[in-house]
């Protein structure tokens, strides 16, 4: 068996000798797709492994226990201290101000006050080099802080400068280069500022009702006994939330998984487009090998033997392509190790993982066999009699059930692999369905277009009639070009329509409805004065404020939320603290979806209004009960209505609004927004408030929007760049097709020249031919892209579809020009060929 296989391989190799050049397009096609899948898989596995190794450092301990508004209950604090290592932290947002040459600059920052033993695991890297403990120590009444390097850049401040936090003056003692527990503790509103916990207490920034987070990082002595369940029992009935390394890494892994799914899918689409290239390459190869196949058959080879010889060759080429692709793919984490360690981890040691290697290998192998099986079966139709007589055109008119079965099995494995890669049954089902539908649509539309073209008689002159017949003839490769470019272009158009619709929606919201500024951490005793100031500066109805406090949901309909199965999209609502407001008056611009608002003088049991989509995701309806833990006390509220929440308007949007009850007596703060009525009025109002009330922080929506927009733009560039790979894959297919059809084109140019056509005329003819092929591809992609984006925008985003016509026109023309220019460049030598030389040499 082994000897027989070796003999077969040896024969295949010797037959292949000297023909490797024929496979350069096949090699490039396999290489590109497999490389992307293995590279993404390797990066993703490395990140997940690194996080697993460093999760304790990144969380700052094995557990992070936190409360909002209130310090830890003493009994829990002392229990933690007695049963392991602890360090306590306080986090809050505040305004940092810097007086630069009589110009006052303000910036909201995220304060993190730490104890001397921070961090328990890992270390903070400070520039210039120093230890956290020493760098934050007050010397000669000079309070010290460390600031994030982004703040240094934003305000133009540096080590040695003095800044204000509230009313207190601080000296910048260093720049934070790395914060070990930063990844799991995103500073979302502003740059990080580190200071000592003792110093924070002296600043007066810790006020009741302010959004202050008290955290304890904890490493238990007995790790076997003290687990998440144990600690949950310990804090039961209190407002303490717990994060463990397990549930935190799960979130991050989900993020890595989702990101890698997108890129892997692009890799898969690239491989599928490459499949068209592989198929054409093998088809061309078999045509070139017709004589050899006929010789082998004339010497007594059975069809299966011939198939075996050429399948072996394809597998050899596959190995030649896949080995460097996988090697390069798994090397990518090594190439990017310095960036990864700089941006994510202090140190990053890449490793080689088996899973991305096996997955990319399997994907490559399946696509390779799937797309070569039909061209290889053409060997069955080659008759040895062709050695003395050119028989009619070879065509495989029917595919046996056995082959259909093999194709079905391969597609099933491909689907199975994709489901395994995505690891989310629902999502993978949608992705597979939409990919299948898109491919079927592209294939169907392409054939329909060519059928119509073949039937319609053009009245546009001889040239177009000639082109029409050329591209619609049965052995034309035009269909393959259209299909391979349509896949990539449809993806780009879909992404573009989604991006422009989202952008339009956000821009419209910013321009029409979004507030100018947010004011946060307003103390209850300050709100009336602020309202009066707002009335005098901004005028009537231009100021909106609501009370706010934070709490956790502990039970839904008497069922604990721990381990409760809810829609993945709304899981975040149950995960951590959420903000609540209360009002007996229906808030402005509220649209109720079900139920009604309670009366203004309602004073009964606690009622709650909930965002409609959240309610659906949590399987809640009117009358259901939600139990909240607010400041250590449990409150049960009955759902009275559900309402629409429009996040894009960027206004105050509470998921939960409670009825007025005793709750308003709890320590709380207010949040307010100012309507956009011109930068001067808005800025002078905000400036007056934050300078008068040092505890209040302001957030400019315009600035936030700009920074979100810049991140979004970066994301869009990255996504589109990745999607562009699919067009590159189309070019590889095109290059292969031009190679395969070189002989036909040479014959065509020879005949045209003999009939009197100049090289320029031939070039012009081919320009028109390939431009028309490109245009067909663009039209199909426009139809598919519009359909897919319309379905996605309506079903997922639920916003109005918006077409950026300029961009769509650009993309639609990009492909015809790309196809035309590339083809003409590649066929330049053919145009210059001498007709008689060609006819003598080839025919």
């Amino acid at each position: 068996m082994f000897i027989e296989t070796f003999k077969n391989l040896s024969l295949s190799f010797r037959e292949l000798r000297g023909s490797f050049n024929e496979f350069k397009i096949v090699v490039a096609s396999i290489f590109l797709g497999v490389f992307i899948i293995s590279a993404v898989g390797s990066i993703s596995e490395n990140l997940k492994s690194e996080i697993k190794n460093k999760r304790v450092e990144m969380l700052g301990g094995n557990f992070e226990l936190s409360t909002t508004y209130q310090e830890f209950p003493n009994n829990i604090k002392s229990w933690l201290e007695n049963n392991g290592k602890t360090t306590h932290l306080i986090e809050l947002r505040t305004m940092l101000s810097y007086n630069s040459q009589s110009l006052l600059k303000r910036r909201i920052v995220e304060l993190k006050a730490v104890e001397n033993n921070y961090p328990l695991v890992g270390k903070v890297i400070i520039s210039p080099y120093q230890k956290v403990k020493l760098s934050l120590r007050t010397k000669k009444n000079e309070k010290k802080i460390l600031i994030d390097k982004s703040l240094k850049e934003q305000l133009g401040i540096d080590v040695g400068d003095f800044v204000y936090l509230g009313k207190s003056k601080f000296k910048i003692n260093g720049i934070i280069e790395k914060e070990p527990d930063r990844m799991f503790s995103f500073a979302t509103f502003g740059p990080r500022v580190l200071l000592s916990i003792d110093v924070l207490k002296e600043t007066g920034l810790l006020k009741d009702g302010s959004l202050i987070k008290y955290k304890t990082k904890f490493i238990p002595n007995n790790k076997n006994k003290i687990n998440l369940a144990f600690l949950n029992d310990l804090v039961k009935g209190t407002n303490v939330s717990i994060r463990s390394i397990e549930n935190t890494t799960n979130n991050f892994n989900n993020f890595v998984d989702r990101t890698s799914i997108f890129i892997s899918l692009v890799g898969l689409i690239t491989l599928l487009i490459s499949g068209v290239g592989i198929s054409n390459g093998v088809k061309g190869y078999i045509i070139k090998k017709t004589k050899n196949i006929a010789i082998i058959k004339s010497l007594g080879a059975k069809n299966s033997k011939v198939l075996n010889i050429y399948l072996n060759q394809i597998l050899m080429i596959f190995l030649i392509s896949i080995i460097p692709a996988i090697m390069l793919g798994i090397s990518i984490p090594y190439f990017f190790s310095s960036i990864i360690s700089q941006e994510l981890f202090n140190t990053f040691k890449p490793s080689i993982f088996l899973q991305p290697i096996s997955i990319s290998f399997l994907y490559g192998l399946i696509i390779c066999i799937l797309f070569t099986i039909l061209p290889l079966l053409k060997t069955y139709k080659i008759k040895p009699i062709e050695l003395i007589r050119n028989s009619s055109e070879n065509s495989l008119n029917e595919t046996s059930y056995k082959i259909k079965g093999i194709i079905f099995i391969l597609i099933s494995i491909l689907c199975g692999l994709t489901m395994n890669l995505i690891n989310d049954k629902k999502l993978s089902f949608y992705i597979l369905i939409s990919m299948t539908v898109s491919f079927v649509l592209i294939y169907g539309l392409t054939n329909l277009k060519f059928y119509i073209l073949s039937k319609i008689k053009f009245k546009l002159g001889t040239t177009f009639e000639y082109i029409r017949k050329t591209i619609t003839k049965s052995n034309s490769f035009a269909r393959s070009i259209v299909i391979s470019f349509s896949i990539g272009l449809s993806l780009l158009i879909t992404l573009n329509i989604i991006e422009s619709s989202l952008d339009k929606r956000i821009t419209a919201a910013i321009n029409q409805q979004a507030p100018s500024h947010f004011l946060i951490d307003i103390q209850p005793q300050q709100i009336e004065k602020i309202k009066t100031t707002a009335l005098s500066i901004l005028g009537n109805n231009n100021f909106n404020s609501q009370p706010m406090l934070r709490g956790r949901i502990t039970e839904l309909n008497n069922q604990s939320v721990q381990g409760l199965k809810v829609d993945k999209e709304v899981e975040w609502v149950l995960r951590r603290d959420r903000a609540f407001s209360w009002s007996n008056k229906i808030p402005n611009n509220t649209r109720l979806i079900s139920g009604e608002w309670w009366s203004e003088n309602y004073d009964g049991p606690l009622l709650v209004s909930i965002g409609d989509k959240i309610a659906k995701g949590l399987n809640l309806k009117i009358g259901d009960k939600i139990k909240f833990n607010i400041l250590g006390r449990n409150f049960e509220a009955q759902i009275f209505n559900t309402r629409e929440i429009i996040w894009e308007n960027m206004d105050i949007n509470f998921i939960f609004i409670l009825s007025n009850s005793n709750i308003e007596n709890a320590p709380h703060s207010w949040i307010a927004t100012t309507k956009n009525i011109g930068p001067n009025l808005n800025n002078s109002f905000v400036e007056k408030i934050v300078s008068e009330f040092s505890n209040i922080s302001s957030i400019s929506i315009e600035e936030s929007y700009k920074s979100i927009k810049s991140i979004l733009n970066l994301l869009i560039i990255i996504i589109n760049s990745i999607a562009l790979i699919t067009l590159f894959s189309g070019i590889i297919v095109l290059a292969g097709i031009i190679d395969v059809s070189k002989k036909d084109k040479l014959y065509e140019v020879a005949i045209l020249k003999i009939l009197g056509a100049t090289p320029r005329r031939v070039a012009y003819l081919w320009f028109k031919e390939y431009f028309i092929i490109g245009l067909i591809s663009s039209i199909i992609s426009l139809i598919i892209g519009t359909l897919v984006s319309y379905v996605l925008i309506n079903s997922i985003f639920n916003i109005e579809v918006y077409f950026d016509l300029k961009m769509i026109l650009f993309l639609s023309l990009l492909v015809p020009f790309l196809i035309t220019i590339f083809s003409l460049l590649k066929m330049l030598s053919l145009i210059k060929s001498k007709p008689l030389v060609v006819l003598r040499a080839y025919f």
């Binding site: 037959e15 004589k291 082998i296 004339s298 010497l299 007594g300 059975k302 009699i385 050695l387």
Partner: protein
Amino acid sequence: MKNENKKKLIELENIHVDLKSSFETINVLKGINLKIFKNESVGIIGESGAGKSTLIMCIAGLELISKGKILFKKLPIHNLKEDDLALYRSKNIGIIFQSFNLLPSMTALENVNLPIEISGNFKNNTMAIELLTEVGLKNRIFHYPHQLSGGEQQRVAIARSLISNPEILIADEPTGNLDKKNSEDVMKLLFKLKKDFGSTLILVTHDKSVAKLCDRIIKIDNGLIVK
């Protein structure tokens, strides 16, 4: 001829071959009846397009007949399936083409070994080297076809046709692409080896002097045996 040489090897009964194109059907063979005996050499002559090559390709199992019967050692081969025909060729037939039909990616030695590699009977290179020595190419065994002259390529093809020790040697105008000197050398070699190997030779040629070397000459015209 001795009696045992008179054993019928091939019998053709009323062979018709119709070739269909998009526009017409051409009747290439219109009812051929022929018996070929073991160890004899048969020369087939006729004008271009008369059906000579088609006839021998039918015997080789490369051309499918439209009507009639072909019997090899009394066993019908006209109704065999493609793979069975391949097996029949592999065991019984050695073919020499006018245009040599060697695989360009393989050396002379590899080309000669190809039939036994295909049939799975390859053991070592001894037989192929012997044959190449016999045809005068001992020093060219590792040369590729493009490194050999036309006469040398045809010698390799002759060696290849004999590697399986076939009962029937079919040669389709083997000297058609060669000059006079090479033609004479190749024909001498072919008849010598035919004798050495005890094969039956069916030779298509338009050269009467070559045909005269055969035991029997058959003339075909317009798809029929006329002489």
